[in-house]
């Protein structure tokens, strides 16, 4: 068990949970279960962030992903009445094809790291993930993308409204839900 002696036990456990939950996300037939598993995955990833000295990121991840995005997903699922095992099972052929493709991707990518060399520039690793440092970088070096991401949000907002708003002659959303 020399492999595990070098690994922190926390990393092992978290990775295990992450992968397990992720697998459940893609295999669960009930979309709601998928969402819940995904939230769990996000939680475990947040834990990873903590391990990686990215404390602020861990919090934001929980707030944005687990808190906001996933709730949105859940809400839509409920809205559309998809909280049952509605999805027809794909043929085995698809499963095989998908596994092979994903597996190949995995193999090819991981295979390439046998000779990976990575640049290292040692800084003070303990403080980089703190909000103080991040805020400084965001407001100096990343100011332009930060401001321009405003365009993204306004565009996304307008877009969501455009798609979601009721046209005069369109069918009622409520009526659909009743069916």
């Amino acid at each position: 068990m020399s492999l595990f002696q070098n690994l922190p036990i926390a990393f092992l456990i978290l990775s295990f949970i992450t992968i397990l939950c992720a697998l459940y996300v893609v295999t669960s037939k009930n979309p709601v279960h998928s969402v819940l598993a995904l939230i769990l995955t996000f939680f475990s990833i947040s834990a990873h962030y903590v391990l990686l000295n990215a404390q602020f990121l861990a919090i934001v991840n929980l707030m944005v992903y687990a808190g906001a995005i996933m709730v949105l997903f859940l809400f839509v699922l409920m809205l559309l009445n998809l909280n049952k095992e509605s999805e027809p099972i794909k043929s085995n052929l698809w499963a095989i094809a998908a596994s092979i493709s994903a597996g190949l991707m995995l193999v090819v990518i991981t295979a390439s790291f046998q000779k990976a060399g990575i640049a290292i520039m040692k800084g003070n690793t303990e403080e980089i993930g703190l909000v103080k440092n991040l805020g400084r970088v965001l407001m100096t070096e990343y100011l332009v993308p930060f401001e321009l991401s405003g365009i993204l949000f306004i565009a996304a907002m307008v877009g969501a409204v455009l798609l979601g708003k009721k046209e005069k002659n369109s069918e009622e959303l409520v009526n659909l839900n009743n069916s």
């Binding site: 979309p31 990686l52 499963a95 493709s101 991707m105 790291f113 640049a119 980089i128 970088v137 798609l163």
Partner: protein, 108 residues
């Protein structure tokens, strides 16, 4: 707090991220429900996020470029999720389905 990389190699995180990414990829290929597809894509994005955070920590990047990128990915993911869900809802309104495999009327 000490860096986790004192007794762990970066490649472990790379492998973990790649596995997560591939699981997401598998989900994208395997699932037919548009919402679940979207979730799988979110999973892929998160794998990337994890990788970026790990790289930042491993390299000790004082500007935390990787982590900054993660923020932007989150921003975009949120926007994407909003728009994507709006599209799915719209499609559901018209077809009462969220199953992408039925959407094949556009073809050669």
């Amino acid at each position: 707090m000490l860096s986790i990389f004192q007794n762990l190699d970066i490649s472990h995180y790379i492998y973990l991220s790649c596995v997560l990414f591939s699981i997401g990829l598998f989900g994208v290929l395997f699932r037919r429900n548009a919402i679940v597809l979207l979730m799988c894509i979110e999973l892929m994005l998160n794998a990337v996020n994890l990788l970026l955070a790990a790289f930042t920590e491993y390299m000790g990047d004082p500007n935390a470029n990787g982590q900054m990128f993660v923020f932007f990915i989150m921003v975009v993911a949120a926007a994407e999720a909003a728009v994507g869900l709006a599209i799915i809802v719209m499609v559901y309104r018209n077809t009462r389905k969220t199953d992408v495999s039925f959407l094949d009327s556009l073809k050669d």
